[in-house]
Amino acid sequence: MESLPLHVFIISSIVKILIVAHLLIIGVMAMIWSERRVSGWMQDRLGPNRVGPQGLLQPIADGIKFLFKEDLIPNHVDKPLYVLAPAMLLVPAMIIVAVVPFGSSMTIAGYEIPLQIADLNIGILYILAITSLGVYGVVIGAWASNNKYSLLGGLRSSAQMISYELTLGLAIIGVLMLSESLKLREIAEGQGANPWEWNFLIHFPAFLAFTTAVFAETNRLPFDLAEAEQELVAGYHTEYSSMKFAIFFMAEYMSMIVGSAVVVTLFLGGWHFFGLENIGGEGSVLAGLISFAIFFVKTGIFLFVFIWVRWTLPRFRYDQLMNFGWKFLLPVALSSIVVTGTLYIITKGNRLWIGVGNVVAAFIVVAIVAGMLAMDNNSKSAAQNTPAAAPLRGLDAVE
């Protein structure tokens, strides 16, 4: 793709930034509505349906309520950091989307404009870098609140985010090996038009590990120990009220949306769907709009999975969370790197063999780990004659 003239680049970038930023905020409102409605549907109740048709205006009513509530800053907090923390969570969630390609490209007035704000050389590393910053908002908010439940929530959350970040990074390596690029646009383009050519089949274990890690990074159930109501009141945002509290929630929904978009780009074929994205000729306005719509729908379906999982799985216990992350997800992600690399050389990049090899290796790894854990538990319970509940170590000893 030849580079655009400077003025076209600037104008198109501004337009794209405006569209994407507003879509994100509208997406947050849509998520608030759909989470409450879908939750209601799953629990066989109605959910909010009074404000506007089907309750569609409920998020606006919520927003107005938050804005008009008294903005309380408790006396015992560290004021500058207390005010800064919600922004520190919201900004990383929002700027990741800059490198996500949300469609193919459009030719407007003779210029081919890619539907992506910035196609960085290091696209995927940028995502990892910004994701690793999200933890500051939580930690600083928790600490500045000067409340022990907040601090415990913040510590839990940061330990969890650091642990699952490893899986997040390692699960991508296999994908990078096959696409031979760090640019998100090339990764999305490298996946073919049909679903069986997408990365989630070739790297199925890595896909599961990555998705799980995304759930953990967004602090969603079953990984929401940071705000476990029964234990920690509301975790790191206990002391927050009014719009500051709302910003914490907006950040959570935004990182869900962005996380889904990243999963769709890396594993679910981006804007491809059976060649539908090429209707009207490659690079035309129609094709651009259709590819954008496909990407939009895929992200929406993945967001539904987020809500679905929330009402399907109960919350993990803290030691289960750590065991799962370090003893299952991390080895599976590592196995995907080894297998993909080895089979890529042996079979000269045959996608079928790599896909099969990945699944087999993941099964073997999980079996070995489960066997070792079972043996460990047996010897422990034989020695101490106590139930095999793992003692809480490390951080929990401090808690």
């Binding site: 950091l81 960085l120 050389n121 290091i122 590393l125 940028y126 990892l128 870098a129 910004i130 994701t131 690793s132 910053l133 933890v135 500051y136 930690v139 600083i140 600490w143 601090l151 913040g154 510590l155 940061s158 650091i162 970040e165 760090l182 170590r393 401090v398």
Partner: protein, 180 residues
Amino acid sequence: MNPEMILFFIFGAVSLIGAIAVISFRHPIYSALSLIVTFFAQAGLFVILGAHFVAAVQVIVYAGAIMVLFLFVIMLLNLGTLSAKGALTGKLKGVAIILGILLAAQGIYIAVNALNNTEVGSEAAQEKAAALTNNPIETYDIGELLFSKYLLPFEVTSLILLAALIGVIVLVKRENQTEN
């Protein structure tokens, strides 16, 4: 003044202000956060130099991992505000002054040397800068260098890291056994 120069001055100023803030704040948490700001500004400087990969690694490793652990320790130990006295006294003060002078001398030497050997703003220098900005160093190039020219240092570094990893595990295990 081209855009790179303007960005350089912005990032340079932010980096300096952050660095001064690290040592001027009395509270360790504020100091740690200022250090993160400095790291970010330095990542920006790397991007101007065309070293995108180094910039990303700077943020991932320093801002994303090491500083989180710093914050962790500060919060868990609940370090209070440092008093005006007490931070640097006696022998420590002498050592600090000597090290500070050494570091300043080094910095001045490098700066003077660089100014003498290259003419700032000369055409050659500008061309070099433009070439770097327009052709950023690709991650591919770094990977290839690591696995060919710098293979031995790379492997030695990984061995050191592995040794550190095993050392940590051994130390933590021993502690747990004595506890039990």
